[in-house]
């Protein structure tokens, strides 16, 4: 009998020590902040708007005056397999190189250690067809999103890169890449909505916990828009908007994003 009691005591102790081990570090019920920094670069240089001169794979020199793109629909996967989708209404961001405050969107996600980050470059097709009352903030086509919206062909411009290049044949040597296309409302059209998934385990997993700041630092190499599976030549295509060629550009820029490091 005495022996049984001792065994039971040991067993209970063992259980409680187990609990102690994995319990208090993260609380699944608490949402904490994680910022995702989109650090725009050009090859191995930090991107300098209006002044930096860069050379693409086609050998063309270029200067960037404007860079804007939507990132949305963030999904994160935790080490324990939990897949967390950030609620849509707080999951649309417009990264604008000229606006420092737009570079690091803040997400609120359950505490824990995360292994992958997924997001959309652009705006999902459903939101592209929503009532005007559901197009708020950066999606407001009459305000913050006005510069990223085609009125004549109702839809968002997902990615916008403008600048000048001596190789450009258009007036003022400008080049303009306005890439959009959500698949069409009543007729099928080009779909340039892109999803990017980044593995975070190689360069440091974010350990998200209330009371501390965690940041995933991404490098976004705009030269990848020019240099990819098909090299974009400014001389051949100085202005690309809603056209079939935009598909090649969107395919290229999907590769712009890489995880550089994590600040825990």
């Amino acid at each position: 009998m005495k022996y049984t009691i001792a065994l039971t005591t040991l067993f209970v102790l063992a259980i409680s020590s187990c609990k102690k081990d994995d319990a208090p570090l993260y609380n699944n019920d608490i949402k904490a902040e994680l910022s995702v920094e989109f650090d725009n670069i050009a090859g191995s240089s930090d991107l300098q708007l209006n002044t930096g001169i860069y050379t693409n794979a086609a050998g063309e020199k270029l200067t960037v005056n404007k860079l804007k793109y939507y990132v949305s629909n963030f999904v994160l996967t935790r080490m324990d397999g939990l897949v967390y989708t950030v609620p849509q209404d707080s999951s649309y961001f417009l990264v604008d190189e000229s606006d420092e405050t737009s570079h690091a969107p803040v997400l609120h996600i359950p505490e824990g250690e995360y292994k992958t980050l997924t997001f959309t470059v652009g705006v999902d097709s459903l939101r592209c067809t929503k009532d005007i009352s559901e197009r708020t903030g950066v999606l407001d086509p009459t305000d913050k999103g006005a510069d990223m919206y085609w009125g004549w062909n109702s839809g968002y411009i997902f990615f916008k890169l403008e600048g000048t290049s001596p190789s450009s044949t258009s007036a003022g040597n400008v080049f303009m890449y306005h890439i959009g296309g959500f698949g069409g409302y009543s007729s099928a059209t080009i779909n340039n909505i892109k999803t990017v998934t980044l593995d975070l385990t190689e360069r440091g997993t974010p350990k998200v916990k209330q009371g501390k700041e965690t940041n995933i630092h991404l490098m976004v190499d705009i030269m990848k828009m020019f240099n990819g599976s098909s090299n974009v030549s400014i001389a051949a295509n100085p202005v690309v908007m809603f056209s079939d060629y935009s598909v090649s550009i969107a395919n290229n820029y999907t590769a712009m994003f890489r995880h550089d490091h994590t600040e825990n």
């Binding site: 009125g151 109702s154 009543s186 059209t189």
Partner: protein, 342 residues
């Protein structure tokens, strides 16, 4: 007994007062689907039409403050007496007299329209006004600037308050109010409608023209709205502008040179005709179909049977068709005070 009579009289009088009050309020009936029309496609659930919202929309529609230099209103190019088109202009001139490339379409029966613009590039009526307001050849402004002007005006905050319950002026409210006005512009009082309702009869020529219309035109210009809202190439010669129509929106080679089939209601009031306003008269349009159709890419199969291009129409049939087409003119619509600048 006397007292009882008095009470009855009082109740009766109260009843009359209540009735007359009802009658005043009943003047604004909201949006009503005319008998015989299909179900509208506009999402009325997202925009309940009220008297105040409609009146605000009308005020905005006729206000040149919606343009960059406060000179051009929606009503400048959509004139009621021309069924809300730009009479006499093949293509419209907007701000600073800049010319567009397309003919201003009528504003009528938009609750049934599945897309907007000649190429269908806009799929939601609420998003449509953004296009002319921001187009540099039309009103040349930015939406945010227009909204700022409205917010600082002396009358709009109160009108928005009446229409939407608070004086806040948002893009959503602005666009929904404009939609309310445009949706109310229903044209269903042409002679054709009276005949359909059994209140009038066609003349012999009109009746003959109606039969011809049903055989030769009615597939695309489907009754009772006189369009099937499809996009088709009707064999116009390709102009120097080389407007490729629907193709610009879909990038589908099969859509090259296709434009939306326009309604034929109020046809007499809406010259010139076609997406670029190239035909000045209805006769010229009939002449096109009878003998000038060109075999351009994606010509509609209905205009190409065997070796024959176009639609066979004899001179006599032309007269009859013209007689019928005139029965689509809705005098009541183009003179209805509710839709006029107040």
């Amino acid at each position: 007994m006397w007292r009882k009579k008095f009470i009855i009289l009082f109740v009766f009088a109260a009843g009359i007062i209540a009735c007359s009050k009802d009658a005043v309020e009943a003047v604004f009936a909201g949006f009503e689907k005319p008998e015989g029309f299909p179900e509208p496609v506009y999402r009325f659930a997202d925009n309940k039409i009220t008297k105040e919202g409609f009146e605000l929309g009308r005020k905005l529609f006729y206000d040149p403050v919606l343009s960059a230099n406060n000179t051009i209103s929606c009503g400048s190019c959509h004139i009621q007496t021309s069924a809300f088109t730009h009479h006499g202009h093949s293509v419209s001139h907007g701000i600073f007299d800049r010319l567009g490339t397309r003919n201003s379409p009528p504003i009528m029966n938009l609750a049934w329209s599945t897309s907007f613009m000649w190429d269908g590039g806009v799929f939601d009526l609420d998003l449509q006004p953004i296009v002319p307001i921001t187009s540099h050849v039309e009103m040349g402004d930015s939406m945010s600037n227009v909204l700022t002007k409205l917010r600082t005006s002396s009358m709009y905050p109160a009108m928005f308050s009446k229409a939407f319950g608070s004086s806040e002026i948002t893009a959503t409210r602005f666009l929904k109010a404009l939609s309310q006005f445009m949706l109310m512009c229903v044209s269903n009082n042409a002679k054709y409608d009276s005949v359909t309702r059994g209140q009038a009869v066609f003349t012999t020529d009109e009746q003959a023209g109606y039969k011809l219309f049903q055989q030769k035109c009615g597939t695309c210009h489907q009754e009772p709205l006189f369009t099937d809202y499809s996009f088709r190439n009707n064999g116009l010669s390709i102009s120097n502008v080389n407007d490729e129509g629907r193709y610009a929106v879909t990038l589908n080679a099969g859509d090259r040179y296709k434009f939306k089939v326009p309604s034929l209601r109020n046809l007499d009031y809406t010259p010139p005709y076609m997406h670029d306003g190239r035909f000045l008269t209805i006769e010229a349009v009939l002449d096109h179909y009878a003998g000038e159709v060109q075999s351009t890419p994606n010509l509609d199969p209905l205009l190409h049977t065997g070796d024959q291009l176009g639609i066979a129409i004899s001179p006599k049939e032309k007269v009859q068709l013209l007689a019928f087409l005139k029965t689509l003119d809705d005098r009541h619509f183009i003179t209805d005070q509710r839709f006029s600048e107040q």
